[in-house]
């Protein structure tokens, strides 16, 4: 190989190294911002306006007390600003909450019969009745009966591995996004951890300042 050729190739390799460095730094930066593709949620887990100015993805755990607070807050916000907000509920059951994943599965199966938010909201408000149970909480089936869910359909849904897999993939998605705690929100793609941060993000969206009263 001629000397000129060697120098030319060395330059190209050096340029390649710089570009690889650039792409690595870009990736690290995006990872730090918790960016990443979001899997769609089943339609029964979404609420609010179909075409909304503000889209919120809520990663939550049915056993987590802070999630109850933020869930109440979000539903209150939805009641007032339902025409501009779309909420998507994402399961992110934490490992150390024994019944979270099971509760998520039950809530999804209730969702298939159109009662997702009724089921999930009840579980949120009554965490003290089931979170610490040793055996599978009876409240899961009792609540399904109270809400008038079809028992056979519910059982088929509970035994369908695709539903468990979907919850597992949602957990994997949350982990890939670097989520460490619940509740975590993405307000129009922007990360917010906890209810206070959510309010800050909603205020920062600038939309509520234009509305009467605004967010307090």
């Amino acid at each position: 190989m001629k000397k000129e050729e060697k120098i030319y190739n060395a330059r190209r390799i050096f340029a390649a190294f710089l570009l690889i460095l650039f792409s690595t730094l870009t990736l690290v930066f995006l990872k730090a911002l918790h960016k990443g593709v979001i899997m769609p949620v089943p339609s029964y887990r979404s609420a609010g306006a179909a075409k909304a100015a503000i889209e919120i993805y809520e990663y939550t755990d049915l056993s987590c007390p802070a999630c109850t607070m933020s869930n109440e807050l979000l539903h209150n916000v939805l009641r007032v600003y339902g025409n501009v907000i779309r909420l998507h509920f994402k399961h992110f059951p934490l490992e150390y909450h024994k019944w979270s994943k099971k509760a998520a599965l039950y809530a999804d199966c209730a969702g298939e019969q159109g009662k997702f938010f009724d089921y999930a909201n009840f579980l949120f408000r009554n965490q003290d009745k089931w979170v610490g149970e040793e055996q599978e909480p009876k409240i899961f089936t009792a609540l399904a009966e109270n809400l008038g869910l079809d028992k056979d359909k519910l059982n088929i849904c509970l035994n369908n591995l695709a539903n468990t897999k979907r919850i597992n993939l949602e957990i994997a998605e949350g982990n890939a996004k670097g989520l460490e705690a619940t509740p975590t929100f993405f307000v129009n793609g922007k990360y917010a951890r906890g209810p206070h941060s959510l309010i800050e993000q909603l205020k920062a969206s600038g939309y509520f300042a234009k509305q009467t009263g605004g967010l307090k």
């Binding site: 190209r12 340029a15 990736l27 597992n168 993939l169």
Partner: protein, 157 residues
């Protein structure tokens, strides 16, 4: 530097567009969860081992070769590797189509898609067709050319 005519401008634009689309697609894959990607690749008919390998290899290849293509570094080699990759992917998609399998995809922008087979097949063909002019005509404003033109200067020192 040679004059830029309409054909070479077209080549540069396609090179930049394809390169950046590979770059963004690679970034999306790198930021997505491994489990979701494995699910997609096994859905295409790949074995678990190959799917797991793809999860690590594909984002790196897409991000870096996409970036090389945008800047025109190793331009022809990049185009060749990417075209071969797309051709293999197209075969995988076609056999999935023949088997009537639903394919999920991590798209360039926005939200993950659950039934993306026809869209993916179409996009792939389009990319393969565009890569040809990018490799053939997008040779102006490449790092390859700029580094080559500086060669003489360095040797004279």
């Amino acid at each position: 530097m040679s004059k830029i005519n309409a054909i070479s401008l077209y080549g540069i634009i396609t090179r930049a567009l394809i390169g950046s689309s590979f770059f963004v697609s690679g970034i999306n894959k790198a930021l997505a969860s491994r489990e979701i990607l494995i699910e997609i690749y096994t859905g295409l008919g790949l074995t678990n081992f190959l799917s797991s390998a793809m999860v690590y290899i594909l984002p790196v290849v897409e991000i870096n070769l996409g970036l090389f293509l945008v800047f025109g570094l190793f331009n022809k080699q990049c185009s060749l590797v990417l075209t071969s990759g797309l051709a293999i992917y197209e075969i995988l998609l076609l056999q999935a189509w023949l088997r009537n399998v639903a394919i999920a995809a991590v798209p360039l922008f926005g939200i993950f898609m659950n039934e993306a087979l026809s869209r993916e097949i179409f996009e792939n063909v389009l990319l393969i067709l565009l890569l040809y002019p990018a490799a053939l005509y997008g040779l102006d404003f490449t790092l390859d050319k700029i580094l080559l033109s500086r060669k003489g200067k360095a040797i004279c020192k």
